[in-house]
């Protein structure tokens, strides 16, 4: 058996401590402002709750207890999972529609002029209107939420995709033509990398809009999902539960942003960092 001397242990400890210190030095300035904001928000809320002592402004303990309650009972996972499922289906439908409209608008002047009023209308109509209309038209079904989400986010997604496609360097399109790149090669090495920043921005915007639309649909006409849970809490005037649901869903959205969108984006744009080394 190998026995490490104290000097060896100190050396190993120095070796592992150095990268840790470097990571902290990089992460701390990035995370500190956000953490500071959250602490000030909690402190501000705490002062407000103590000052007014009203059931309309529950204190931090009551909100914390409500969070523990919905998470421990499994209700949060069930309702948030249901809502996220609807969002994903709505996003997929919106993406297909936006791809067709965005591609046509970027490639054809007539198509661009043709779709322009529809996109303008779609961008200005509030999500609330789509939610109401879809509940009236399609009743209480999965279809209602998926179509309402798609109607609410497809215009923003289509505009982003069209802008991305229009921004593809025409000189690279010429190069791909001269070297007779096949359709899939053009898609892989030209179109997708070029539109990626626009696509990511569009998906982020679409995701944030989708969640607002689906919650409205769930409030108006469904008996599952975060919107339904929020509505139930609202009916019983349980402000702590409303805040708890909002907080937990916001944490899930943040986890998707940092754990999915940013990871995918970092992976797909790693060439930029390598190019700058």
């Amino acid at each position: 058996m190998t026995v490490l001397s104290e000097r060896d242990l100190a050396r190993v400890s120095r070796r592992t401590a150095a990268p840790l210190r470097a990571a902290v030095a990089v992460l701390l300035p990035r995370l500190l402002p956000g953490v500071l904001f959250c602490l000030l928000l909690v402190a501000g809320w705490h002062v407000m709750a103590a000052r007014w002592r009203s059931p309309l402004i529950p204190d931090i303990d009551a909100i914390g207890a409500a969070v523990v309650d919905i998470v421990a009972s499994g209700d949060a996972a069930l309702q948030i999972g249901t809502t996220l499922g609807r969002i994903v289906l709505g996003l997929l439908l919106a993406f297909v529609v936006a791809l067709v409209v965005g591609l046509a608008s970027a490639r054809n002047r007539f198509a661009k002029a043709f779709f322009e009023p529809a996109l303008l209308l779609g961008l200005t109509v509030p999500g609330l209107v789509w939610a109401l209309l879809c509940v009236i038209w399609f009743g209480l079904s999965l279809k209602t939420s998926v179509i309402a989400i798609a109607l609410g986010i497809a215009p923003a997604l289509a505009v982003n995709l069209a802008q991305g496609l229009e921004a593809v360097d025409p000189q690279l399109i010429e190069t791909a033509h001269v070297y007779r790149l096949r359709f899939w090669q053009r898609l892989r090495v030209l179109w997708l990398p070029a539109i990626l920043p626009f696509l990511m921005a569009g998906m982020r915007l679409a995701f944030s809009l989708a969640w607002k639309v689906v919650v409205l649909v769930e409030v108006f006409g469904l008996s599952t999902g975060v919107g339904y849970a929020l509505n139930s809490a609202f009916i019983s005037q349980d402000v702590a539960a409303v805040l708890a649901w909002t907080l937990v869903f916001a944490l899930v959205v943040a986890a998707i942003e940092y754990g999915l969108f940013q990871v995918v984006e970092r992976r797909l744009t790693q060439w930029k960092r390598k190019a700058l080394v």
Partner: protein
């Protein structure tokens, strides 16, 4: 004479944004023999690059024909532009490999050409981390890696400093001597035209016509300091000045 590239009675007119028609080529004919490199020189805007774009299939003639012929039913065209025009998100090896793959050429050629242009150790580098000269080397490697029937060169060294351009002209000469494709070189540099080409075609007028064809009777490898190239350079310049005085 068998040919690799042929312009037969080509007419090309562009319509300016104001709606004004601008004839660039009228009844233009030119033939490039297999293995021959023809340089096109002439004033700016005369239609030199239009000839390359027609040969590359990026433009179509209004009338007449442009034919590219090679050993294969679908001749392979390599092209080097003023800017390297690489895909910044692909590394150097992949930039070449994608063109080789599209041409269904031997994929081993990508690595061989990288070695030939002196960039083997940069295979996994990204274009933005390379100098302008290195990027243009990659563009040359891409053009030759597809085993082209014809190579089109659109002022390939004009954006580089003279020392780098000089090195790349020698590299192009080596590649040409080894692979012997046919080619068109558009350049404003008359000394470069004389040094690299087998024939220099001087364009003049609007629409453009061939003012003069100058044969460069020098075998390769050539020496850049060869006095004959300076004589040819003066001869081409004199023809250009004469053409300019016609209006």
């Amino acid at each position: 004479m068998s040919t690799s590239l042929r312009f037969d009675n080509v007419d090309k007119t562009f319509v300016r944004p104001g709606g004004e028609a601008e004839p660039v080529l009228r009844d233009f004919s030119l033939a490039v023999a297999p293995g021959e490199l023809v340089a096109i020189v002439g004033p700016s805007g005369i239609g030199k690059s239009t000839l390359l774009h027609l040969a590359a299939g990026l433009e179509t003639p209004d009338s007449g024909s442009v034919a590219v012929e090679g050993a294969r039913p679908q001749p392979r065209v390599g092209m080097v532009f003023q800017q390297a025009r690489l895909f910044d998100w692909l590394n150097v090896a992949d930039n070449i490999a994608v063109a080789v793959d599209a041409a269904s050429a031997d994929i081993k050629r990508a690595r061989q050409m990288l070695s030939a242009v002196g960039l083997a150790r940069h295979a996994h580098s990204y274009p933005l981390s390379l100098s302008g000269g290195q990027r243009q080397r990659v563009a040359l490697a891409r053009a030759f890696a597809i085993q082209p029937d014809i190579v089109l060169l659109d002022e390939p060294f004009s954006a580089l400093d003279e020392l780098t351009a000089r090195r790349l002209r020698l590299l192009l000469q080596d590649l040409w001597t080894e692979h012997r494709p046919s080619g068109l070189l558009v350049t404003h540099n008359t000394l470069e035209a004389a040094f690299l080409a087998d024939r220099v075609v001087v364009l003049a007028g609007k629409p453009a016509h061939i003012a003069r064809v100058i044969d460069v009777r020098r075998s390769r490898p050539r020496q850049a300091e060869d006095a004959q190239f300076f004589d040819l350079h003066r001869e081409i310049l004199a023809t250009l000045e004469h053409g300019a005085s016609w209006g």
